[in-house]
């Protein structure tokens, strides 16, 4: 077992500085976060409140008609504990406007519509609140592609995208995210009874160990098997990473000219600030 423990004070300091820098350099002082009641958005909200002050953070609760009451309640716990501003905007009417047109729509498509509806609400509220949308995806789900493109993955910047789920848990505990949120089974809560680990087919604890070897330590898949990981598990994860890479890059542009966006037009976002 690799030790994925992090120094939580150092992580908090670096991430808070990042949130503050990316917000203010873009000309803003505020942030907007979709707070679901889950651990990732709870952690992002704690960090944003730490970096910008609670009064400068707007937590948006966006329940769908089937979302559990627990999710709403846990989101409220985060809001109360961080002292951020909050609003609740149900997405039932927005999402159902499309979902109801296709009676046989799969759960996955419905889930994507919910995630993208929330993105619309967040970006809409961000204009009103004059704040940037803060991302809530962790490294594990980004690598596995366990997200909706242009949905929950949409954000202005992401403070926790280099932390594995296990590390998200460690940092959340250190920052005082309520135990009930840290300890519960992670779920996208797109339908009743859904859990991440049920859907993925493996646990975060296991996959974080594997991802750490594959990505951070640059082990080959064969070396991971030699380290004791099940061969099928390794193959599944490697394939997931590869097949979901499109979610991690900007859409490629067909190169025609001498200077093409994405290839040889290279500037940081912080250009000029």
């Amino acid at each position: 077992m690799k030790n994925l423990d992090i120094n939580t004070d150092l992580a908090t300091e670096i991430i808070s500085g990042f949130i503050h820098s990316e917000t203010t350099r873009a000309g803003f002082s505020k942030a907007v976060i979709g707070v679901s009641g889950g651990i990732d958005s709870a952690l992002s909200c704690f960090l944003a409140a730490h970096a910008l002050g609670g009064e400068n953070v707007l937590a948006v609760r966006m329940p769908y008609t089937t979302s559990s009451q627990d999710s709403l309640d846990h989101a409220q716990l985060v809001i109360d504990k961080t002292g951020v501003q909050s609003t609740t905007i149900p997405i039932g009417a927005i999402a159902d406007g499309l979902i109801n047109q296709f009676p046989d729509m799969s759960k996955m498509c419905q889930g994507n519509i919910m995630a993208r509806s929330r993105m619309i609400v967040l970006y809409d509220r961000s204009v009103e609140f004059k704040g940037l949308v803060v991302g809530t995806s962790n490294k594990t789900e980004i690598l596995l592609g366990y997200s909706t493109l242009f949905g929950d993955s949409a954000c202005a910047f992401n403070p926790i995208g280099d932390l594995y789920k296990t590390q998200v848990r460690q940092l959340s505990r250190a920052l005082g995210v309520p135990d009930i949120i840290v300890d519960k089974a992670p779920t996208a809560d797109l339908w009743a009874g859904q859990t991440d680990e049920g859907e993925l087919g493996f646990t975060y604890a296991d996959v974080d160990q594997l991802l750490y070897l594959l990505v951070d330590e640059r082990y080959t898949p064969e070396e991971c098997v030699q380290e004791g990981f099940d061969k099928k598990f390794v193959e599944t994860v490697v394939k997931r990473i590869q097949r979901s890479h499109f979610k991690r890059i900007m859409p490629p542009i067909a190169k025609l000219s001498n200077r093409t966006i994405g290839y040889d037009f290279l500037y940081l976002r912080d250009w000029g600030t």
Partner: protein, 289 residues
């Protein structure tokens, strides 16, 4: 002889030379008021680090005719200044350079000789490689400048040592990375340990000025240091925050340390040269470029 040093551990605006210049002038004035003899700025202190396609647009030459350098040279009348910039040579090659300014003149320009082009780094794509690591004379003795990756390799500090440098001025804009359970990032630990090692094995002063701030997701952790000829930590700037950190270097310590530990006296340079020639001329050498 004493040298009062100031480490200007600053943040920069990416690609905005005018704004960074003003910050330099303010720091120089502050250091000068504190009676510092030398103020050292980090790598690419006039431009910011992750320049990419901005590199050619922020380039300057360390000459009095250059409007940016004119102001820096004017500011260097009473205090020596080491400043980091993008240098464009007469044939339009762009270098990551640091200039040593003293009494209104450019004493030396070092062009970075190792451009990291791996992992998160892409310097070789945008910059030309410097070709020399030369020590030079200052009013405080012989000095050598290296820039970041230059001193991650052992040979440039060694060459400067043999070229007479007793004070090593290392500058960097090093993105912090390697978060573990330790209280420092692994890069910060690594740099501190090698700088202490260089100071010890070269029985010299090793000054390291790192920058702070963020560029997109990259973060620069500061923690600039000064180590003395016995490997002692003489000064350390804070992590993360801008600071102007002062340190008095007692240059007589070189005499005392080298009396105790004559590593420089005993260094067998002819042996090194002979062995290097043998190794590099050998067919199928695995070490050499």
């Amino acid at each position: 002889m004493k040298l009062k040093l100031a480490l200007a551990q600053i943040n920069t605006k990416l690609g905005v030379v005018e704004s960074n210049l003003e910050k330099h002038l303010a720091q120089i004035e502050k250091a000068s008021k504190e009676k510092a003899d030398l103020v050292v700025f980090p790598e690419l202190s006039l431009t910011g680090y992750s320049l990419q396609d901005l590199a050619p647009t922020v380039a300057h030459r360390a000459v009095p005719e250059d409007l940016v350098f004119k102001r820096l040279l004017d500011a260097s009348q009473d205090i020596d200044v080491v400043v980091g910039f993008v240098e464009e040579d007469l044939r339009n090659r762009f270098f990551i350079s640091s200039a040593y300014l003293s009494r209104g003149e450019v004493s030396h320009v070092h062009r970075k000789v190792y451009l990291p082009t791996y992992g998160l780094f892409d310097e070789g794509r945008f910059f030309a490689w410097g070709d020399t690591t030369a020590a030079f004379n200052t009013r405080f003795g012989r000095v050598g400048i290296l820039i970041c990756e230059d001193f991650w390799h052992v040979s440039p500090p060694y060459l400067l040592w043999l070229d007479g440098a007793d004070i090593f001025l290392f500058v960097s804009a090093s993105p912090g990375r390697g978060l573990t359970s330790a209280p420092q990032l692994s890069t910060a630990q690594w740099v501190e340990s090698i700088n202490r090692a260089y100071a010890s094995i070269f029985t010299s002063f090793v000054v390291h000025c790192n920058r702070v701030g963020y560029e997109d997701g990259l973060h620069f952790s500061g923690g600039s240091t000064v180590f003395g000829p016995d490997g002692d930590l003489l000064a350390k700037a804070p992590y993360e925050d801008e600071s102007l950190t002062f340190c008095d270097l007692d240059l007589n310590q070189l005499h005392r340390s080298r009396s105790r530990l004559p590593l420089l006296r005993d260094e067998r340079t002819a042996l090194t040269q002979r062995e290097l020639n043998r190794i590099l001329n050998r067919d199928g050498s695995s070490s050499g470029r």
